[in-house]
């Protein structure tokens, strides 16, 4: 009896409904790429860059929509181009002038946002743009799923290629500059990956909360591991777990799906904050015996 109840609760929603399977596939693919990206953003003290970049992408997607309607390709391309332009300009200004990266990013993303809003209001439509710009995790069609999967694949492959320079630059940027000139290109490639994953996130999660599936798992990973690789693995796993549990929460309680996923990730974060092995609050208060070497 309990077994069938467990089945009904945990498995049946996905077995019975195709849209739930699609949603799960989409969020898992998203977690796969976003976890690693989030960890590197966090290690480079760029945790808020994701959020700023998300705002920079939005106008691009809006322009894509205005030019060719509800077309996945146009909106993705528009968002991608807007994000990349902002990332490139930011990197250029930060590396060539006195302005630091955060200030440069702030100026360019605000400009992008303002430009986007202007273009939309010039065009004069008042279609519910927020509904259109963001996809819906419950309405992922083949094309969107494919896009998210391709983006996750590209992310993992490129990350593998730039992994060494990226890690070294996180840990010791001065050393990195003295031994190699790969730091700059690696950083740009990384920023492009951030944009790619945010675009995926828009389609999958349906809100600005796309940034949440990037940053919350990364912060969770930080409380359980010191090693970067392990941190990435934990982040990815907790992102995937949040996706699955969030969809279940939405299915059983009727909460909107996108926020439900992020709320579950938030709950995991609070648990990690309290009980995490690396610097968790409880751990700090009661250090206990040192079991590890």
């Amino acid at each position: 009896m309990p077994v069938s109840m467990l089945y009904d609760f945990f498995i049946a929603p996905f077995a019975d409904f195709e849209f739930m399977r699609r949603a799960l596939a989409g969020t898992l693919a998203l977690a796969l790429g976003a976890g690693a990206i989030g960890v590197f953003l966090m290690l480079r003290r760029m945790s808020l860059v994701g959020d700023a970049m998300a705002h920079a992408i939005l106008p691009g997607a809006a322009v894509g929509f205005l030019l060719s309607g509800l077309s996945l390709v146009a909106m993705t391309a528009g968002g991608f181009i807007a994000g990349c332009v902002v990332a490139l300009l930011t990197g250029f200004v930060a590396r060539t002038t006195e302005l630091k990266e955060d200030a440069a990013l702030a100026t360019f993303y605000l400009l992008s946002l303002a430009l986007g809003v202007t273009i939309i209001s010039l065009k004069g439509t008042n279609i519910d743009l927020l509904h259109v710009l963001f996809g819906n995790v419950l309405a992922l069609d083949d094309q969107t799923l494919l896009l998210i999967a391709v983006n996750a694949t590209i992310t993992l492959v490129v990350l593998a290629l730039i992994y060494r320079p990226l890690v070294i630059e996180c840990v010791d940027p001065g050393f990195m500059r003295s031994v190699s000139s790969a730091g700059g290109p690696a950083h740009f490639a990384f920023l492009v990956l951030v944009v790619v994953n945010l675009v995926s996130g828009f389609h999958a999660l349906g809100t600005l909360l796309a940034v949440g599936i990037m940053m919350l798992p990364a912060a969770i990973g930080r409380f359980w591991a010191r090693d970067v690789t392990l941190m990435v693995l934990i982040a990815t796993a907790s992102g995937a777990a949040a996706g699955y549990a969030g969809l279940l929460l939405s299915f059983h309680t009727g909460v909107a799906s996108g926020p439900a996923i992020i709320l579950v990730a938030g709950a995991l974060y609070v648990v990690s904050l309290l009980f995490g092995r690396v610097g968790g609050l409880v751990r700090q208060a009661f250090p206990g015996r040192h079991l590890e070497a």
């Binding site: 195709e18 209001s121 509904h131 819906n136 059983h252 009727g254 909107a256």
Partner: protein, 303 residues
């Protein structure tokens, strides 16, 4: 010289103040309607005597509209402001206050018995308990027209005959339209009169003409659907063998497409709910809108 300058000054003043009394007689009255469908009804009653502006234009969504300063200005300049009421334009009170207009606010749904909302998920929004989409029943549109006629006559007694004649002619057209709707629906077998739409805007149509509508969202387009709602709808379509799923011109079609994919229900064309289409579309007037919806429904439900 002096007199000429004065004349120019006076002309400039007159141009700047569209409601200036000296020019009110020979110039068309400027009135505002909150959204495109209401605007069309007002135009039909007002005819040549009115210059009708709308705040939420064709294809716009009045549920989540954000008024611009230009809107505040046109409200301030208007002689009358027509709104739907029943909580449809949640933003109108603030706009009216901000514009400082002296124009009377005419609620077009006055006298219509509001329908209680029955959204699929039972969501609550800032809409209040009434379903605002009263114009989806032609009988209600006739009440709108009567309210508009009375308000116009009260505001502009000189045009009484014109307004009364226009309203009578238009009401006759609406009578014919209503008969047409009833005739077409009567041809659809009773057990096939079931439809899914992406936003519960057709409650009054359902009550008046006996076609059952179900929606994955509540009445407003603001709420995001949950997995629970979508699952409930899919189960319902499969169980009741609902033949058709419809899209609307104001909400995200992707969700409805997913539901159709999963259930095998036919995707009907677009049903227009809250807005007319622009000149390129095929529902530029209220009568066209109802005819268009009727045609789409008939095509999808007759098998």
């Amino acid at each position: 010289m002096l007199t000429r300058r004065r004349t120019i000054f006076a002309m400039a003043c007159a141009a700047l103040l569209p409601g200036a009394p000296a020019r009110a007689q020979d110039k068309a009255q400027h009135v505002i309607a909150s959204f495109s469908i209401l605007g069309d009804l007002v135009k039909n009653v007002g005819g040549e005597r009115l210059q009708v502006g709308t705040l939420v234009g064709p294809n716009g969504n009045a549920h989540v509209y954000a008024p611009s300063p230009g809107d505040a200005k046109s409200v301030a300049d208007a002689k009358l402001v027509f709104v739907n009421g029943l909580g449809f334009e949640g933003w109108i009170d603030r706009l009216v206050k901000a514009s400082g207009t002296k124009a009377p606010i005419i609620v077009a749904t006055k006298g219509i018995k509001p329908r209680e909302r029955a959204g699929a998920g039972g969501h609550d929004h800032d809409h209040g308990p009434a379903d605002p989409h009263a114009w989806q029943s032609v009988a209600n549109a006739k009440v709108y027209v009567a309210n508009i006629r009375d308000a116009l006559i009260a505001a502009d007694p000189a045009g009484k005959d014109v307004y009364a004649a226009n309203a009578a002619a238009y009401l006759a057209k609406l009578d014919a339209l209503e008969q047409e709707v009833r005739d077409v629906i009567a041809k659809v077998p009773a057990d096939r009169r079931r439809v899914i739409t992406s936003h519960a805007a057709f409650g009054y149509f359902q009550d008046a003409y006996g076609v059952r509508f179900t929606a994955p969202q509540g009445v407003s387009t603001e709420a995001e659907a949950s997995a629970k709602d979508v699952a409930a709808i899919i189960t319902q379509i499969k169980k009741q063998k609902i033949p058709a799923v419809f899209l609307e011109n104001v909400t995200d079609p992707r969700l409805v497409q997913q539901i159709a994919r999963e259930t095998g229900a036919k995707i009907g064309g677009t049903l227009y709910s809250d807005a007319l289409t622009d000149a390129k579309g095929d529902a530029t007037t209220y009568i066209d809108l109802i005819r268009h919806n009727l045609k789409q429904l008939a095509a999808a439900l007759e098998s």
